[in-house]
């Protein structure tokens, strides 16, 4: 719902500027520049910039009713009932309009109230935001002004901890060097501070006296939604200064650690970058609900048949023979009964009957289901103590209530590895320096491997004084406390440590003592590396924009500590196409060095010829570390000739101030200097498995759920993790499809990409077909053997090609586990889509990072890992849980129950309305199909909304076939959901059968029993019999519900008894009064009835006879064809375990409630670590386990349009991919480059962009940032 209002926002603010930005980059560089006159209100007026107030509401006072109603009537069911309501006001209706209008109005009122409530919340938060004040320079003074009054070109002053009211150009700061710190957690969830630096030329304009004089013209890009780019120039006097993203302060961020800054407003209101990122979360509907549509169609078909039969029947019936019907005088006969025109009789009666039988479509079904799901998600899922993660203080969160029952039918889970299966708690674990391996630890994976192979490993006990802190889990005396000085190659060691201490973008915080300092790093890997340097005696403690200060120990002699300041000349930042990061620094003694760290492949390509003796031995070590599941990184350096550097630096500055294609140019320039590297060694970082992952995976596997791991990691790492979490085992037959084989490397070496692609494709094709035939054979030889497939991203690209896709699907469907490694986010989504659309199975994606967003959105259900700083995945997800292992509870308990409940509710609705409607049909067969109603109007209109409404809610909320504990103990029970056992046509047919049977009983029993007079010789009329039948229906239908529910709580009793009692109260009152202008059909009926034996005998007989069918069926079914859950129920009940298991459960609950009194050492550590401010779980610097096969756009081009283009990234990507754009047609360029963008930078900016929309949603709606600034 929430999304709908955003569509106009998108089209108004989103697409327009996007197009212009695109043109701006691709066609006309001067198109759409925005010119802003700083501090000159009058000069900016002609441009008619947007004002700064925002509105996220859907409606206003006037549009609420029309627009809200329009939204409601977009639902087909509501439209249908509107039509019926209109029909019922015409004379052809057999019922009073109230019968159909009443329930419709009720349903609409409930929905509209919900809308109004939600919209009001949005309005209030908008108002708070718009009215918060900011200092604006007016004349010579800072004047407090509400945000909404701000306009482009204004000069504003923002104080510490305030939020930026609009996108600003950073002019000056109270800090020295014109820097300020900002927190961007509202944008991307990162809490680490970022530095922004003002242009040197504008540093002085901080006080009002000076700021008044700040005059300048800004020429910049049009509003767009690319958060991490900005192109523009500041023209001051004759000087033109390029503006970089470094000078931009975005709305949504807040100022930290800086007293105040002055800025000029660039973009306002809905044109700010953060607002332009606002986008819809695609709304998902559950599979069950889509099946429900089919059921509704079936009901329509039944309705049509009933009305058709009735229409024909009535046309045949009408005749002047029935003189008492007064059909003799033509003038006085309504068209509907005119025997002279039987055709119109048929048509009109058809519509009469449509109105009469409209109850066959349960009007309250959707409202009831919505309510049930709402309670399920807000009360149960969100409040489940067993899904609360104490360490991160995170409960589970259902972000949508649409999909609860979908959780009970998942067959495929696609999981990210890092941060999901593993903790993403990076710890420096081992390293190899100058060809020597250091570090004594043994990883989980090594242990798992040892268990697998049976070869014992020798555990080296930790040294007593080993240092253990967050990010550092390394123990080797040879390196600690200056021990490295005695190693074979201390010089290399020193360089290695310096590289660790200098080459990074970490910000130190807090006191400059090793124990107190906190590193703010973009990725946990980086922080781990810097922490390692600290522990090796190279303590990085301060950073200024131009220098890094390191406190080095033991360098000259053991125990000596000295502070050294390295001048930082250039930082060549990491991005995922470069896969490396370099820093050029000048030693105090003038030595110029480039330190570089990066992926092995890129470092090895750039090594100096003949100067790298450790090249091969280090490669072996890299492989070894990879096998142990460690993340590796190569470190290298190069001495630089000062003259050469000057030359290069000029090019670099040029590239940096380029207005167009800046990033591409920077990459190219960086390439020039990052050569002739000398390898120092490599680092190995451990990424630990999350708690409980192997057990959870095992449980899910038993439940018939297939888990696929999709990771950007290397194949060895991925396989090892898969083993460690018991996804793969030695008993499985594994098929590995890998592009990293010699034949392919050879072809690649020849450097012809087309040839490479061809060979690769051949290879993949052959391997796929081989695998299929092998699988066939295996199935014959050893049925029951499990298969597994491991495929890498590059092969996957070809395997996903339309003509191989079938084969891929075929082999995948047979595999119990699939591991895809080195896949890009787009590929993750493609694989998900393959199963979702190709195999029509229900899928769930779980991930924690921005690179998982696409797959989270592609799957039927997206689950985000919450409780960590990164919010991207959570914001795109449907459910958020803190730990992977909570999937067990989410799926096996909540999902399963929800599915069971909703299935039951829907079936029951189907049954109760069909039964009710059919009685009227039987009656009409004996009433000339005239459309005469069997019941009073009010009976009919209150049937759904009053007399049968509550009990079904009780089932939807409380029904529980087996306890949570049992559901987890017997995961196989979950299979029923996968096979859709409870909402299949077969089940519906049974309900249908008994609905027909019961309706016959309800009609014929009262009618037959009433035939020959009652006590006192009096006779019963139409309304007596109708009321009698209705009473029987109410009693039976409510009792049937008790039979349908698996557990009966107090609320069931209350609801069922309440419904029946409410019927009697109603009828007592209703038949006791006489009304004007209506027929008194029901007057005193119930009292007359109750004075007869007939009534009392029937209300015993009819429910028993009606329910006997169901009872027998249920008895038979349980006896001879028991469902699994029924056996478990019996076991629980009769095997005398019920008591103990409940007790166990209670104990578990109590434990959860109180929390453990004593923590084990390990727990204590993890608790302490968890409470430390976390690094975000992904970043543009994220792991050096790169996942960016650059060949994917080629594939995308071939395939057509596999995924929607990410239009918001067009501007940026168009500028970044010149290599390919040449060969592309103009019209497709944007689309393709954007697609490419989204995969070549999986863990980087692109994905942040993707996600920001949701972040924005979050902060503008739920978390008005002004109201509650983050305090972390």
């Amino acid at each position: 719902m929430g999304g709908l209002e955003r569509t106009p926002t998108m089209s108004r603010g989103g697409r327009g500027p996007m197009d212009s930005a695109f043109r701006h980059h691709s066609a006309d560089p001067h198109f759409g520049h925005r010119t802003i006159y700083c501090n000159d209100h009058a000069a900016n007026l002609p441009f008619k910039f947007k004002h700064n107030s925002i509105s996220t509401t859907k409606y206003n006072f006037w549009t609420f009713l029309p627009k809200g109603l329009f939204e409601q009537f977009r639902r087909v069911a509501n439209l249908y009932f509107l039509m019926i309501a209109i029909l019922s006001t015409t004379p052809i209706s057999p019922v009073h309009p109230i019968t159909n209008v009443g329930p419709l109005v009720l349903v609409l009122t409930v929905s509209l109230m919900k809308e109004a409530f939600e919209d009001r919340k949005r309005y209030m938060s908008d108002r708070i935001i718009n009215s918060s004040s900011i200092d604006v320079l007016s004349g010579r003074y800072w004047i407090k002004t509400p945000w909404s009054k701000l306009s482009v070109g204004d000069v504003v002053k923002v104080y510490s901890d305030q939020f930026f009211p609009a996108d600003l150009l950073f002019v000056s700061s109270t800090n020295a060097d014109g820097i300020c710190y900002i927190e961007t957690s509202n944008l991307d969830g990162e809490t680490n501070l970022k530095i922004r630096k003002a242009l040197e030329r504008t540093w002085d304009y901080i006080d009002e006296e000076k700021a008044v004089d700040f005059k300048g013209v800004i020429e910049c890009e049009q509003p767009n939604n690319s958060l991490y780019t900005f192109t523009g120039n500041l023209i001051m006097g004759k000087q033109t200064i390029p503006i970089t993203p470094n000078q931009i302060l975005l709305r949504g961020c807040s100022l930290r650690n800086t007293d105040a800054v002055v800025g000029v407003v660039l973009f306002t209101g809905h044109e700010t970058k953060v607002m332009m990122n606002t986008m819809d979360v695609p709304s998902k509907r559950s599979t069950l609900e889509r099946r429900l549509d089919k059921l509704i169609l079936l009901l329509f078909a039944i309705l049509f048949c009933l009305c058709f039969i009735g229409g024909i029947g009535s046309a045949v019936f009408v005749s002047r023979e029935w003189w008492y019907l007064g059909l003799a005088v033509r003038d006085e006969i309504e068209q509907q009964y005119d025997p002279g025109n039987r055709f119109s009789v048929a048509i009109l009666t058809f519509f009469t009957l449509v109105t009469l039988y409209s109850t066959i479509i349960p009007i309250s079904l959707y409202v009831s289901i919505e309510m049930i799901k709402f309670i399920q998600s807000t009360q149960f899922i969100n409040n489940d103590i067993l899904m609360y993660h104490r360490e991160s203080n995170t409960p589970a969160l259902a972000r949508t209530s649409n999909l609860n029952e979908e959780l009970g039918q998942i067959e495929y889970i696609f999981s990210d590895k890092t941060g999901t299966l593993t903790r993403n708690l990076m710890e420096f674990f081992k390293c190899s320096i100058a060809g020597v391996m250091y570090g004594t630890g043994i990883t989980e994976i090594q242990r798992a491997a040892a268990r697998r192979t049976g070869v014992p490993i020798e555990e080296i006990p930790k040294s007593v004084d080993s240092i253990r802190e967050k990010g550092f889990n390394f123990d080797d005396k040879r390196l600690m406390r200056g021990g490295w000085r005695h190693e074979v190659n201390p010089e290399i060691c020193k360089e290695f440590f310096r590289c660790l201490a200098i080459c990074h973008t970490v910000l130190p915080e807090g006191e400059d003592l090793p124990e107190k300092i906190v590193y703010q790093a973009a990725s946990p890997d980086e922080s781990a590396l810097v922490t390692a340097a600290k522990n090796f005696g190279f303590f990085f403690y301060a950073r200024s924009p131009t220098a890094i200060k390191v406190r080095e120990s033991h360098v000259e002699r053991l125990g000596k500590v000295q502070d050294v300041e390295y001048e930082i000349l250039n930082v060549l930042e990491f991005n995922s196409s470069r896969k490396r990061q370099s820093v050029i620094c000048r030693y105090p003694n003038g030595r110029l060095v480039l330190y570089c760290k990066g992926a092995d492949s890129v470092i090895y390509e750039r090594m100096a010829e003949g100067q790298n003796p450790y090249r091969d031995v280090t490669r072996d070590h890299l492989e070894k570390y990879g096998e142990d599941g460690l993340r590796t990184l190569c470190l290298a350096y190069a001495d630089i000739d000062p003259r050469k550097y000057e030359e290069w630096n000029e090019k670099f500055i040029q590239a940096k101030s380029a207005l167009r294609d800046r990033e591409k140019k920077l990459d190219e320039v960086a390439e020039l200097i990052e050569s002739n590297l000398i390898l120092l060694g490599c680092t190995a970082i451990e990424d630990k498995l999350q708690e409980g992952v192997p057990l959870c995976i095992e449980t899910l596997a038993k439940a018939g759920i297939k888990l696929w791991v999709l990771t950007g990691d290397k194949m060895e790492t991925a396989i090892n993790i898969a083993y460690a979490c018991s996804l793969l085992s030695n008993e499985m037959k594994q098929f590995i499809i890998n592009s990293d084989v010699k034949s392919i490397r050879d072809v690649e070496a020849r450097g012809d990409p087309i040839e490479t692609a061809r060979v690769l494709e051949e290879q993949v094709k052959r391997q796929l077909y081989d695998a299929i035939s092998a699988a066939d054979e295996l199935q014959l030889e050893q049925p029951g053997v499990d298969l597994a497939l491991v495929i890498d991203g590059r092969c996957l690209m070809f395997a996903l090609d339309p003509h191989l896709r079938g084969a891929l699907l075929k082999i995948c469907m047979r595999c119990k586990a699939v591991v895809c490694c080195r896949v890009s986010p787009l590929q993750k989504a493609q694989v998900t889509t393959l199963i979702k659309d190709g195999a029509k199975r229900i899928t769930l994606s779980i991930g924690d990072g921005a690179n998982d967003v696409s797959m989270i959105q592609a799957a039927h259900i997206g689950v985000g890992i919450s409780g960590q700083e990164g919010m991207q995945a959570v914001m795109a997800s449907d459910f958020a849980i803190a730990q992977f292992r909570f999937l067990t509870d989410l799926l096996l308990v909540h999902g399963r129950w929800s599915y069971n409940r909703i299935s039951k509710v829907v079936c029951y609705f189907f049954y109760k309305n069909l039964t009710f409607t059919l009685t009227q049909f039987w009656f009409n067969l004996g009433a000339g199909n005239s459309g005469q109603r069997f019941y009073d109007d009010w009976f009919q209109s209150l049937y759904n909304v009053l007399f049968t409404a509550l009990p079904v809610l009780a089932v939807g909320i409380f029904d529980k076939d087996v306890s949570a504990k049992r559901a987890k103990q017997y995961p196989q029970l979950y299979k029923a959901g996968i096979d859709n056992l409870y909402f299949s046509w077969r089940v519906l047919f049974v309900w249908l059968f008994f609905a027909v049977y019961q309706s016959l009983v309800f009609f014929f029993f009262p009618v037959s029993a009433a035939e020959h007079g009652v006590n006192g010789g009096l006779d019963l009329g139409l309304w007596d019999v109708g009321t009698m039948a209705y009473t029987c229906i109410i009693i039976t239908v409510n009792l049937r519900l008790l039979m349908a529910s698996s557990s009966i709580t107090m609320w069931h009793h209350v609801a069922v008894a309440g419904s029946i009692v409410s019927w009697f109260l109603f009828i007592f009152f209703y038949s006791g009064v006489q009304t004007k202008n209506r027929q008194d059909n029901i007057y005193w009926v119930i009292f007359n009835l109750m004075s007869t034996w007939y009534f009392w005998f029937l209300i015993i007989l009819v429910p028993v006879v009606a329910l006997a069918g169901d009872f027998m069926y249920q008895g038979f079914q349980r006896w001879f064809f028991p469902f699994d859950y029924q056996i478990i129920q019996e076991e629980t009940k009769f095997k005398d375990q019920g008591e103990t298991h409940d007790l166990e459960h209670q104990m578990e609950m109590m434990a959860m409630l109180e929390g453990p009194s004593v923590l084990t050492a390990e727990e204590e550590r993890s608790l302490a670590m968890a409470q430390l401010p976390r690094e975000r779980t992904w970043s543009k610097h994220t792991g050096f386990a790169f996942d960016s096969p650059g060949f994917e756009s080629f594939f995308a081009l071939q395939e057509g349009v596999p995924t929607p283009a990410r239009s918001w990234d067009v501007a940026r990507r168009a500028s970044m991919t010149p290599r390919r754009s040449a060969s592309r047609s103009e019209t497709r360029a944007g689309q393709i480059s954007s697609r490419e963008g989204s995969h070549t930078h999986p863990s980087s900016i692109t994905e942040e962009d993707v996600q920001l929309g949701d972040d924005e949603l979050r902060f503008s709606r739920n978390n008005p940032f002004l109201q509650t600034p983050r305090k972390d």
Partner: protein
């Protein structure tokens, strides 16, 4: 809770955060006490037994009651048309105003009938439940709240431009055969026509107003093809024939109470009935029956309830026995894990492997 600069600089110290741990309640943890007897064979058998044990006596009692009722049913619609054979002739006969439609019928009392003996007329194929018919009345007018109100009464709303009272098709098509009973050829039997309608109808639904402008009472009414006249000098709430007639029936075959004979009828008595065969059921081929019936505490002769109860009861006992035997011969151990689908599957595969 505004953040300040210090909060970031000493971020290493974990801030005291409010715990987001969900509060425990039986509701949110879905642990509300619940019970539900499992429909195990034992329960199935027991419930069938219980139903049988309760239903058979009720069935027996009600069937006895019904069987105790003595009923004489006599169809006279053909007999009283002077044995005209064609439908057209019958219609012509019934529509002829001038003919004497008296018709004598002899009934034999086969069993003693204790007073009161109820006299019913039964019509077949008469759709009193047709939509056009059912709504063709005006309850306000009948109550006497506004006697000129004829909404919904078309086409019998007005006659000669004046509102009809009581208006509508139902009143207009009032049944007008009359029966005069004599026993043994001489002794007249009085038929009491009071108290044959529901009290609520008499007292609240029909007012103390005199009928007026009723078409069937007009000599010049050419459309008279059925339908009886009313006593214009008797208020509506005393004309119980009309009140009974206007309580429309649910099915096209229905009985309506004509009156009560408050004398005992003895076995072997011959009752002769002089029928005024006025009512036109011949156009639509409907039957007319005269019914004399005693009642039991339960009502008229209707074995439906008794048979239904007995059938259900006997079936229940039967099923209980069958189930019991099946259960003895072939019991399913309750909660036996080997019956779980995955275990069975595993067994199957292991069997086939061997």
């Amino acid at each position: 809770m505004s953040a300040n600069g210090a909060s970031t600089s000493d971020a290493g110290v974990p801030a005291k955060k409010e715990s987001k741990k969900p509060k425990y309640s039986k509701f949110t943890q879905q642990e509300l006490p619940a019970c539900k007897p499992l429909l195990t064979p034992g329960w199935v058998i027991a419930i069938f037994m219980i139903v049988g044990v309760i239903f058979i006596p009720i069935g027996a009692v009600t069937l006895l009651a019904s069987n105790g009722v003595v009923e004489i049913v006599h169809a006279y619609h053909n007999e009283c048309t002077r044995n005209l054979t064609t439908r057209e002739a019958k219609i012509a006969y019934i529509e002829n105003d001038q003919l004497d439609k008296t018709c004598n019928v002899q009934l034999r009392v086969t069993k003693d009938m204790d007073a009161p003996v109820y006299v019913y007329y039964q019509l077949d194929n008469f759709y009193q439940n047709h939509r056009r018919y059912v709504k063709s009345r005006n309850d306000q007018q009948l109550r006497g709240d506004s006697v000129n109100e004829t909404t919904g009464c078309k086409p019998e709303a007005t006659y000669n431009g004046q509102p009809i009272l009581p208006c509508g098709l139902i009143a207009w098509s009032l049944f007008n055969d009359t029966y005069v009973f004599t026993r043994g050829g001489t002794q007249g039997l009085f038929v009491n026509k009071k108290g044959i309608s529901w009290k609520s109808d008499r007292e609240d639904k029909f007012g103390s107003i005199l009928p007026s402008n009723f078409p069937n009472n007009q000599r010049d009414n050419t459309s008279l093809i059925g339908g009886g006249a009313l006593n214009l000098s008797q208020p509506l709430n005393e004309q119980e024939d009309l009140i009974v007639w206007m309580r429309t029936a649910a099915l096209p075959t229905f009985r309506k109470l004509y009156g009560k004979i408050e004398d005992d009828l003895k076995q072997g008595d011959t009752i002769s009935v002089q029928i005024q065969n006025n009512y036109n059921t011949y156009t639509f081929g409907g039957g007319k029956k005269l019914v004399l019936s005693t009642t039991s505490w339960l009502g008229g002769k209707n074995s439906f309830l008794g048979i239904a109860y007995l059938t259900v009861g006997i079936l229940s006992i039967f099923l209980a026995l069958v189930f019991f035997l099946v259960h003895l011969r072939n019991p399913r151990p309750l909660g036996d894990p080997s019956y779980l689908s995955w275990n069975r599957k595993a067994q199957l595969t292991s069997n086939s492997a061997h």
